[in-house]
């Protein structure tokens, strides 16, 4: 039996039937990490000792007393606070910082019984689309180690694709779950803004951030979302989901209307991506779904609005990293201003500094209306576009990323090209909608993702249609990597 090829839901079943012990399962994954992570470099830290200890504890529990997910391993993006671990957000400024509390999503995973394998690499403070902006190291795409895994949840996507964990949590501010999921050939889901508590998610852009699953199947995404979703009194912007998420079973799309977004169909996407997308649309039609073109005239302004709103919020959110209470503090400063300046100059990387400067600029007196005010208006227009579209169709379907994974270093000096990686995903965050990326096929041997977007709180429907498409496409290829092939 190839356990590493199994989904988390399948692992759970094996643990429940006692065909596998938690210690065996965790050991398999730790061995896999040892075997391949030297190449992939998805992890910033692996907590082998803690994971093995928890596994032994789970195995000692009377089966009747077990919680649903006792013994199933998971890995976490390094932006979620885990009590007792370091949490750095991929930044040098938080080196050595150990949060005194668990993020709400992390606490829910603990309560469900999951075992934490380690923390995953990311673009510093989730700012980036390639994980090259990590303050620690670059993560590589398991399908081609010369290429990036996408970002900012590149560690999460790469780890799941390389079978270093059955599943992982990531966060998505402008596509940071869906784009790396697309580039690494895994499922990634950004829930509706407010579905999952942000408490303990170190904020990048508060009005856009959401935590979500990166998994090997739509079913796993459904299961993981069900664990982490819910209203949290600690997060005033959290609402939860209307109903618990059911695991999907439906494989027929008869009567479901899909909108193909005109604005994404031009030259923005490379031909290989367009081909995979057309095949996916054909698959939807074959399943009985109706596809029609819809227009979102304002989405093209989405990137501009996003690169004002997100940096504005970030410039404020990152002000707390000042060297006073925790994290890095520059040595030997003569006065307060010097301490602030040197601490932040040393602690933050170039992309973070760039966005703090943009954010500070667009909020400053005299520029606020021209930039931040306009961007908020654009955001409202984008929301209205989506509302109009959802009056016409049930879901929108598009490529997730306009390109396949690019080479490490290829775009590091071309910030605009890098920003364009999130063309199809950013408007979804601006409107607060749920979106899922699932593997659609390959272009030149590299994975291409398909994104499905639904109205607010339509997660169940989104999972159901994504599952139907997943079953139809039936993609079984896995990256060839390491000595142990999953």
């Amino acid at each position: 039996m190839n356990v590493l090829g199994l989904s988390a839901v399948e692992c759970r079943a094996l643990l429940e039937s006692r065909d596998l012990s938690a210690l065996e399962l965790v050991t398999l994954y730790l061995d896999r990490i040892n075997a391949v992570d030297g190449d992939v470099r998805a992890f910033l830290a692996v907590d082998a000792e803690g994971a093995l200890r928890r596994a032994a504890e789970v195995d000692a529990i009377d089966p009747a007393q077990r919680r649903p997910w006792d013994g199933v391993p998971i890995a976490l993006k390094d932006v979620l606070c885990v009590e007792g671990w370091e949490t750095t957000c991929g930044s040098r400024i938080l080196a050595g910082y150990r949060p005194p509390y668990d993020a709400t999503a992390v606490a829910k995973l603990r309560e469900a019984g999951l075992i934490f394998l380690g923390r995953l690499n990311m673009d510093e403070f989730a700012m980036g689309s390639s994980t090259e902006n990590s303050g620690y190291h670059v993560t590589h795409n398991p399908w081609d180690l010369e290429r990036v895994p996408g970002g900012s949840s590149g560690g999460s996507a790469a780890c799941v694709a390389a079978a270093e964990a059955p599943w992982a949590l990531g966060t998505d501010t402008g596509g940071s779950i869906r784009q790396p999921a697309s580039l690494c050939g895994v499922v990634g889901m950004k829930p509706t803004y407010g579905a999952v508590s942000r408490y303990g998610l170190v904020a990048f852009a508060s009005s856009l951030d959401q935590i979500g699953p990166l998994t090997r199947s739509v079913t796993d995404a459904a299961a993981l979302l069900d664990i982490i979703a819910g209203h949290d009194p600690r997060d005033s912007t959290s609402i939860g989901l209307p109903e618990p998420i059911r695991l999907p079973t439906e494989t027929d799309l008869t009567g479901t209307r899909f909108g193909v977004v005109t604005e994404y169909m031009g030259d923005a996407c490379e031909p290989g991506v367009r081909q995979v997308f057309h095949d996916a649309v054909a698959a939807v039609t074959a399943l009985g779904g109706q596809c029609e073109e819809v227009s979102l005239p304002s989405v093209e302004k989405g990137i501009a609005a996003y690169y004002i709103i997100a940096p504005a919020e970030a410039s404020s959110n990152l002000a707390r990293f000042d060297g006073v209470r925790y994290g890095h503090r520059a040595a030997h400063s003569d006065d307060l201003l010097e301490m602030y300046t040197r601490t932040r100059s040393e602690g933050f990387g170039a992309e973070v500094k760039r966005r703090i400067m943009i954010g500070t600029y667009v909020l400053s007196s005299g520029y606020y209306e021209a930039y931040y005010g306009q961007a908020q208006k654009t955001r409202t227009l984008i929301m209205r576009d989506f509302e109009r579209a959802f009056a016409q169709v049930d879901f929108l379907i598009s490529p997730t990323s306009p390109t396949v994974a690019f080479k490490v270093g290829e775009r590091t000096d071309d910030h605009l090209a890098m920003y364009l990686s999130d063309l199809c995903t950013i408007p979804v965050n601006l409107a607060g909608l749920p979106g899922i990326s699932l593997p659609g096929g390959f272009s030149g041997g590299l994975p291409v993702g398909v994104q499905i977007v639904g109205p607010h709180f339509s997660e169940q429907g989104l999972i159901d249609v994504a599952y139907a498409l997943e079953q139809r496409l039936d993609i079984r290829a896995r990256p060839a990597l390491g000595e142990v092939r999953p």
Binding site: T87, C89, S236
Partner: protein, 499 residues
């Protein structure tokens, strides 16, 4: 506001130096909620540093604020009491600046959609005249922590070799009240602040203690030639007593006068008043002022105060000092002065009304409450509520005076003992045998004995020397150790000497 320099300190009437001060106040009030504005930590004062803190109020990564509902209610009470328009959506903004006492690098405050706008307070001067001060806005925010500078001689940042931060205060709910520039003198400013404090006390939303910092006051001050446009203002920071507010304003007005008289311009700046030297130091000029980059706080949703909520809070408001003063004058037949004193302090007013209602004599109750009672609590430094002599106990004492058991003089002694021992008036009187001798048979015997023992003086009186009467009263009092009812003594003596 005009940037043009005012070159001559000559008012319209040609009188030199007739500058009119234009003053607006910004008052910060700490709300006495049990917990902080955005987390569950207890609010505290004077406790061990950093013992009332949590990841939220320390600004740890990933934490989020949650609005304290009670703080919103208290702020609403204040806004309504000041006649502000309240209702509809109100939102929080982030005010961004770096300082070590500000853990998040921004303060959660309110900006262009504050809780209340457009109110006023009618202020009564000592002369009895009133003037109206407009209230621009009432908004909610969180307090910062406190810096302690160590290693220097003065405890101030200059000369210190390191600084420590205490975050106990960080996140305490504050309400900021901003007045219109309607105040024209330091005396008016002081009256305004005194009466605002009294109002806030009545609302029971804050300790409003300036010395402890639960009420803090900044003033915007400018001068202008009478009737001219407003001049350039300076901001006088953090005066921590009513006296310092007045003295600070006096000093800053004098400083600005000197500048203007010299034909120079006042520059916009923050200034600090040093009460030990009565001098003003200019802290920073506005050129390097912060750009706070306000933007709506994305971690909080707008607060919708619907009319039902606003009306419920409005209905729960207590009687305000001005209305209470009127009512006290009417109901208890008090002078404006007594009613003013008794209505200025909510607990003193409550205490008085309880005593007056039991005793049934407002004037007597007012004399005692504003006299001996106030002297006692102020002397010991107690709050009215902390007095060992409750209103019922004082009423019992006044009852003994009314029924003639105690003289006014004796009552003062008994009161002093009540404050020391906490025992009741009647118990003290009985134990010490202090009751006035109002028994005419008992007194008659003493009077007869005294007259018999002093036949010479009795004869003098009968011959018309009225002065001798006092001698006899004194003798009777001496014999009765002062306990004789003076009215009765007079009556009995006169009857015996003339009879």
């Amino acid at each position: 506001m005009s940037d043009a320099p005012v070159t001559a300190g000559v008012a319209d009437d040609g009188r030199p130096g007739a500058w009119e001060p234009v003053i607006g106040l910004e008052i910060h009030v700490q709300l006495k909620t049990r917990t902080k504005m955005f987390c569950g930590c207890a609010t505290s004062f004077g406790e061990e540093p950093n013992t009332h803190v949590c990841p939220v109020c320390l600004g740890h990564p990933g934490t989020l604020p949650v609005i304290n509902e009670r703080a919103v209610e208290y702020a609403t009470r204040i806004a309504l009491a000041l006649g502000c328009r309240v209702g509809g959506p109100t939102i929080f903004h982030r005010k961004n600046y770096f300082y070590p006492d500000l853990p998040k690098g921004y303060q959660i405050s309110q900006f262009d959609q504050p809780l209340g706008v457009g109110g006023h307070l009618d202020v009564e001067l000592e002369s009895g005249e009133t003037f109206r001060v407009g209230i621009t806005r009432v908004h909610m925010e969180e307090d910062a922590g406190k810096l302690v500078h160590s290693g220097g001689a003065t405890g101030r940042i200059h000369g210190a070799d390191h600084s420590l931060v205490d975050f106990n205060r960080g996140g305490t709910p504050l309400v900021e009240i901003v007045s219109e520039p309607d105040i024209r003198s330091p005396e008016q400013a002081r009256s305004f602040l005194t009466q605002l404090k009294s109002l806030l006390e009545h609302l029971d939303v804050s300790d409003v203690n300036m010395e402890e910092g639960s009420m803090r006051c900044d003033a915007n001050v400018s001068l202008r030639a009478a009737g001219a446009e407003f001049g350039t203002k300076t901001e006088l920071k953090n005066m921590n007593s009513f006296r310092f507010l007045q003295r600070g304003l006096d000093a800053e007005i004098e400083r600005q006068e000197d500048i203007l008289e010299a034909g120079e311009r006042v520059t916009q700046a923050t200034v600090h008043f040093d009460p030990t030297t009565s001098s003003i130091s200019v802290l920073r000029s506005k050129e390097e002022a912060h750009d706070y980059r306000y933007f709506p706080e994305p971690d909080l949703t707008p607060i919708e105060l619907d009319s039902e909520y606003v009306e419920r809070v409005r209905a729960s408001l207590p009687e305000f000092p001005a209305a209470r003063k009127e009512r006290m004058m009417r109901t208890y037949d008090l002078t404006a002065y007594d009613a003013g004193v008794l209505s200025a302090n909510r607990s003193l007013g409550d205490y008085f009304e309880r005593v007056a209602d039991i005793v049934g004599d407002g004037k007597v109750a007012a004399n005692w409450v504003t006299g001996d009672f106030a002297a006692y609590v102020n002397g010991v430094g107690l709050q009215v509520e902390q007095s060992v002599v409750g209103p019922e106990a004082l009423a019992e004492l006044l009852g003994l005076v009314a029924e003639g058991t105690l003289s006014g003089k004796m009552a003062k002694e008994v009161f002093a003992e009540m404050t020391e021992t906490g025992r009741g008036a009647r118990a003290i009187v009985e134990e010490r045998g202090l009751g006035q001798i109002s028994d005419s048979a008992a007194l008659e015997a003493v009077v007869a004995a005294v007259v018999a023992a002093n036949p010479g003086q009795a004869e003098e009186f009968r011959q018309g020397r009225d002065k001798v009467f006092g001698f006899f009263v004194g003798q009777v009092m001496k014999e009765t150790k002062g306990q004789a009812n003076p009215h009765l003594v007079n009556e009995l003596l006169r009857r015996r000497l003339t009879g």
